[in-house]
Every structure is written in structure tokens, then in C-alpha cells.
């Protein structure tokens, strides 16, 4: 017993902190060890093998990773995915914040508005995507009717491979309810006295938004950025349902909506190349982890916690 103590070089207070910290973390540590560690390690192992899901995996070293560099579909799916992250997620984040600001006013009937604005998030995907396929119909859709009325070109949203991704982005704006509601909760936490103090100093609305609201909700923005990044790179369901319900093969016209996770799914469950799919998963993991670390690194400059001094 004696030996264990001072060797670690930790002072007893630090050790006690560590102990209490780990105690609080214990539910996660338990879950990680029991439910996550094994799947994570197996998938890493599979990525170095040829594995068809049924017979035991055959070690192939780095072959899967080398194959990826040659795989044009993998690269184009990565491009499609990055496209959605860049042109889909960021505008949607800004949009969700805008809606949250709109819903954070003190007007009557706010509960009702808030419910309505969250509705699209609650409607099951089958119903939602069916409606969108109607709205985006090239000939009769509401969207093209409106575009036509003001003399703009009317794209074939669902069949033209240049327009399928924009269609999905457009649909995505509707489903931003979860981000909106989290921003709403964050906005409620901004101490009102800050605004009052700023008013006395003669700040205008723009100033208040820029210098009070944005910094105050920066922890939420930080959260959304990281989660959005992770989510965008695993973008799956909408693309899958979209192709399926507009009666097209997986990947849509010209594979224009073949996203990384969809291609990965295809490899794993249709082509039975679990080894290759696992390698794809780990490449994705590394990309997302590096981007996340980058955000973490810069966060001290733009994320402000009320709990810090």
C-alpha cells in the first residue's frame, strides 16, 4: 500500500480530485468499457482485414486503405459529403439561430409559434419527404411555379444531378428544429442585465447582438459546430430516403447524392465488404477528429463561458 502513494508524484489533493472526477465520470466509463470499447476495437481490426460478415476476417494489412486512394466513388462521395457540410450545415446553423432569435421575443402566443416551428422535426420522414418530392416536382411543384412566376429558371430538382444536393439542402432548412430549440434555451440563459447595461451605454440592436448575444451563446455555437461537423460527415437518412422515395437507385442521378456514409453502408451491407467499410469509417474518424481538434484549439479565442473569469 505504502508504495503506491508518493511514487505517482501526485499530491493527495490532486489524487482526491482525480478520484472524485472519475467517480462522476463512472457512468460513462462503465458504458465505454462495456458497450463501446469492443465494437470500436473490432472495427479497427476489421479495417485491416477482408471480412464478409460471415467467415472469419483475413488479415490484409493496409490493402483496404490503399484501395481507397484508387476508388473514385469513395472520393466523390467524400466530395458530396463535404459539399453538404459546407453549403448545407453552415447556412442552416445561421438560419436556426435566426429563427431562435425570432422566437425569443416577448410576443403573445409564443408557445404556439414555438410548437409550429418545431413541427417539421417531428413529422416522420416518409411523410415529409413525400411532400418535398411534390413541392420540388419539376413541372407541377410549388417551388418551380414560384420561380417561374418571377421569371427564374425552373430546374429539374430531383433528376438533374446538379440540383439534387441543393434540393437536399433546401429540405434541410425545414429540419433545423432541434438546433433552434437548443439556441432558444441558450438565449434564455443570457442575463438580461447585460442588455440593460448596454442600452444605458446607447448600444444599438446590432451592437447588442454582436457584443452580447453572440459571445453569450458561443458555448452553444461551439457545441453545434462540433455536433454539426460530426453529423454532416455521417449524413445518411435524408439522402437515402430521398433517392428511395423518388424511385431512384441509391446515390441518385449520376451518384450525385452518394454520400460517404451511404457508400460505406453499401459496401458493408450490400457488397459485404465490411473490412473496406471499416477502413472507410476510420478514415472518416480521423478527418472528423482532426477538424474537431482544430475547432477545440481555436475555441479559447471565441467561446466564452459564464463560469470563467
Amino acid at each position: 500500500m505504502e508504495r503506491l502513494e508518493p511514487r505517482s508524484g501526485m499530491r493527495s489533493r490532486e489524487r482526491k480530485r482525480l478520484f472524485i472526477g472519475l467517480l462522476f465520470l463512472s457512468p460513462w466509463i462503465f458504458g465505454f468499457l462495456v458497450f463501446q470499447l469492443y465494437p470500436i476495437i473490432t472495427s479497427l481490426y476489421y479495417s485491416f482485414t477482408e471480412y464478409n460478415l460471415f467467415t472469419s476476417p483475413q488479415w490484409v494489412g493496409l490493402d483496404n486503405y490503399a484501395d481507397m486512394a484508387q476508388d473514385g466513388k469513395m472520393l466523390s462521395s467524400l466530395y458530396n459529403t463535404a459539399f453538404m457540410a459546407l453549403f448545407g450545415f453552415f447556412p442552416q446553423l445561421a438560419y436556426a439561430l435566426g429563427i431562435a432569435l425570432l422566437l425569443n421575443q416577448s410576443v403573445k402566443g409564443l408557445s404556439l409559434y414555438r410548437t409550429i416551428y418545431f413541427l417539421p422535426t417531428l413529422v416522420p420522414a416518409v411523410a415529409g419527404s413525400l411532400l418535398w418530392i411534390w413541392l420540388l416536382n419539376a413541372q407541377y411543384g410549388l417551388v418551380n411555379q414560384m420561380l417561374g412566376a418571377i421569371g427564374l429558371p425552373e430546374p429539374n430538382w430531383l433528376m438533374d444531378e446538379n440540383w439534387t444536393k441543393p434540393s437536399l439542402i433546401l429540405m434541410g432548412f425545414w429540419g433545423t428544429g432541434t438546433i433552434t430549440i437548443m439556441y432558444l434555451a441558450a438565449l434564455q440563459e443570457v442575463p438580461r442585465m447585460y442588455y440593460e447595461a448596454a442600452s444605458i451605454d446607447g448600444a444599438n440592436k446590432w451592437h447588442k447582438f454582436w457584443h452580447i448575444t453572440l459571445p453569450a451563446i458561443s458555448p452553444m455555437t461551439f457545441f453545434q459546430l462540433i455536433m454539426g461537423l460530426i453529423g454532416s460527415f455521417q449524413y445518411f437518412s435524408q439522402g437515402y430516403v430521398f433517392a428511395e422515395s423518388s424511385n431512384q437507385a441509391i446515390g441518385g442521378p449520376g451518384n450525385s447524392i452518394l454520400f460517404y456514409a451511404i457508400y460505406l453502408f453499401q459496401n458493408a451491407f450490400m457488397f459485404l465488404k465490411m473490412g473496406y467499410a471499416s477502413a472507410m469509417a476510420w478514415i472518416l474518424f480521423v478527418i472528423v477528429l482532426l477538424l474537431t481538434l482544430l475547432i477545440f484549439k481555436t475555441s479559447s479565442r471565441w467561446v466564452f463561458y459564464g463560469g470563467e473569469k
Partner: protein, 277 residues
């Protein structure tokens, strides 16, 4: 009252209503469709109002699948998930937010990184785990996944962000008074984080409510199926029973709309309780 101030009163409403209509559209369409005959559902261009209102779709929806049983099964899973998540996640979040210890940031990144591996490659190994501990064909894989799975990382991160926003003075002074970390957690920090807890509770409920793939994979007995599997029953190989599907989708959605309505009301109460304003 001059026109400018009337304008200032009406303008926000006007904006909210116009944008709101866009958001109302999918549900309104869903709802209206349930009263249409199959002929009318598919009219091109889109038809909003049914010519003749019928109830048949609802009758078919509740008779084609055991609706009450599936709802009950779903509610049980969702409530179990919520209960565990709301108890466990803030505990972990407190550890990551308020207690300084060596390796904390590393562990935090490790936790987040579990979210970054697509579930398509971890699904089968996880299934093997649940098979080994003999929990297949019960609610437990679903509930335990909600408690300890990747959802936990999400919830912990979200709550940590809220905890980090709570002024240090509040907890420091308690510490000086000799309060233990657990006391500070239960008596100071948790009550302040009620909106955050409501948020993760709501999200967990919604996720459990809508989960199709997990439920299908782990539930091998028709008696234990959930609503989302039930919804798929209307989609058959040779065509979809659109009318009943839309009616079932409506019945599927209404409970969570009501739930959401009450939860978001609580948000506002939650804030007045914190007394920070």
C-alpha cells in the same frame, strides 16, 4: 398610440406568421391527406383540401396494426431511456465541467470521438455484445444504448456547455463552506440546469420514439414491436397504403407534439427558477 409603435407590435407577429406557415405546411399537409381518398392523395398538381372528408384511413390504420400495444411498448422504452439519461448524463457532465483533474480533456475528447465512428461498422459488434450477455429480444439493448451509447456523449457535451455557463462564484462559495462536490451538484448546479435537462430528456424521448433500425434489430417478437416498426407495415413491396400510412403517421406524431408543447412551456419556467436574470 402612433403608427410606428403599432408597427413594432404587429411586425414581429407578421413575420412569425409568414415563416410559421412554411413550417406548418408539412404537418398540415399530412393531416389533410389523412382525410382524402387514395384518388385524391396523388393528384398533380398537389391538392391541399380534400373534396370529400373521410375517416376510413384512421379506421384502417388502427385495425391494420395493434396500435395501442405498439404505443405502449414505445412509451415504455422511451420513458426508460429518458429516466436513465436524465439521471446519468448530468453526473458525467459535472465531472467534465467542474472538477479539475489530470487527463480530463483527454477523456473528454475520447468521449466525443466515440461519436465520430459511423454506427454502420459498430452495429454488428454491438449486437454480438448484447447477444453474449443474452439480452437480445428484450428492451434492454435499446434502453442501455440510450443510456450508455453514443447518445450519452451527445447529452454530456450539451449539458457540460450549460454547466460551464454557471458562474464559478456560485459553486466556489459553497465549497468554501465545506459542501461536498455531490452536494454542490445536486443542490446548486442541477437545479440551475433544468432547461438543459428538459432538452436532453425531450431529445432522448424523440429519438426512442422514432428509432426504427434499433428496434427492428433487437426486437424479435411481434408482441414487443414499437410504433416505428408498425409504420413500416404500411409500406409493402408492391406499393404503399398511403392513406392509412398517413393516418398512422399522424397518430404517431400527435403525442410527441403535445409532449413538445408542454416541455417548451417549461423552458420559460425553468429560467425564472434559476433567478439569474
Amino acid at each position: 398610440m402612433n403608427t410606428a409603435s403599432i408597427g413594432r407590435k404587429i411586425l414581429p407577429h407578421l413575420l412569425l406568421i409568414i415563416v410559421g406557415l412554411l413550417f406548418l405546411a408539412p404537418f398540415a399537409w399530412l393531416l389533410l391527406t389523412t382525410f382524402k381518398t387514395e384518388d385524391e392523395i396523388f393528384v398533380i398538381p398537389i391538392q391541399w383540401i380534400p373534396k370529400e372528408w373521410i375517416w376510413d384511413n384512421y379506421v384502417n390504420a388502427v385495425s391494420m396494426i395493434p396500435f395501442i400495444k405498439y404505443t405502449w411498448n414505445t412509451v415504455v422504452i422511451a420513458l426508460m431511456s429518458v429516466a436513465g439519461v436524465v439521471l446519468l448524463s448530468p453526473l458525467v457532465a459535472y465531472g467534465f465541467s467542474r472538477i479539475q483533474f489530470k487527463g480530463r480533456n483527454l477523456l473528454f475528447i475520447l468521449m466525443l470521438s466515440t461519436l465520430m465512428l459511423p454506427m454502420q461498422v459498430t452495429m454488428i459488434p454491438l449486437y454480438v455484445v448484447f447477444n453474449k450477455v443474452n439480452l437480445l429480444n428484450s428492451n434492454w439493448p435499446l434502453v442501455l444504448s440510450a443510456w450508455f451509447g453514443t447518445g450519452m456523449a451527445y447529452n454530456v457535451f450539451l449539458i457540460r456547455q450549460f454547466f460551464n455557463g454557471i458562474p464559478m462564484e456560485l459553486t466556489e462559495s459553497a465549497k468554501i463552506d465545506g459542501a461536498s462536490e455531490f452536494r454542490i451538484y445536486t443542490q446548486i448546479v442541477l437545479p440551475l440546469a433544468k432547461p438543459a435537462l428538459l432538452t436532453i430528456g425531450l431529445f432522448t424521448f424523440l429519438a426512442a420514439w422514432g428509432d426504427f433500425q434499433g428496434a427492428l434489430i433487437y426486437l424479435n417478437d411481434q408482441e414487443t414491436w414499437t410504433l416505428s416498426i408498425g409504420l413500416k407495415q404500411f409500406i409493402r413491396e408492391n406499393g404503399v397504403a398511403w392513406g392509412p400510412l398517413m393516418a398512422a403517421a399522424t397518430l404517431f406524431t400527435i403525442p410527441i407534439i403535445i409532449l413538445y408543447f408542454f416541455v417548451q412551456k417549461k423552458f420559460i419556467e425553468g429560467i425564472t427558477i434559476t433567478g439569474l436574470k
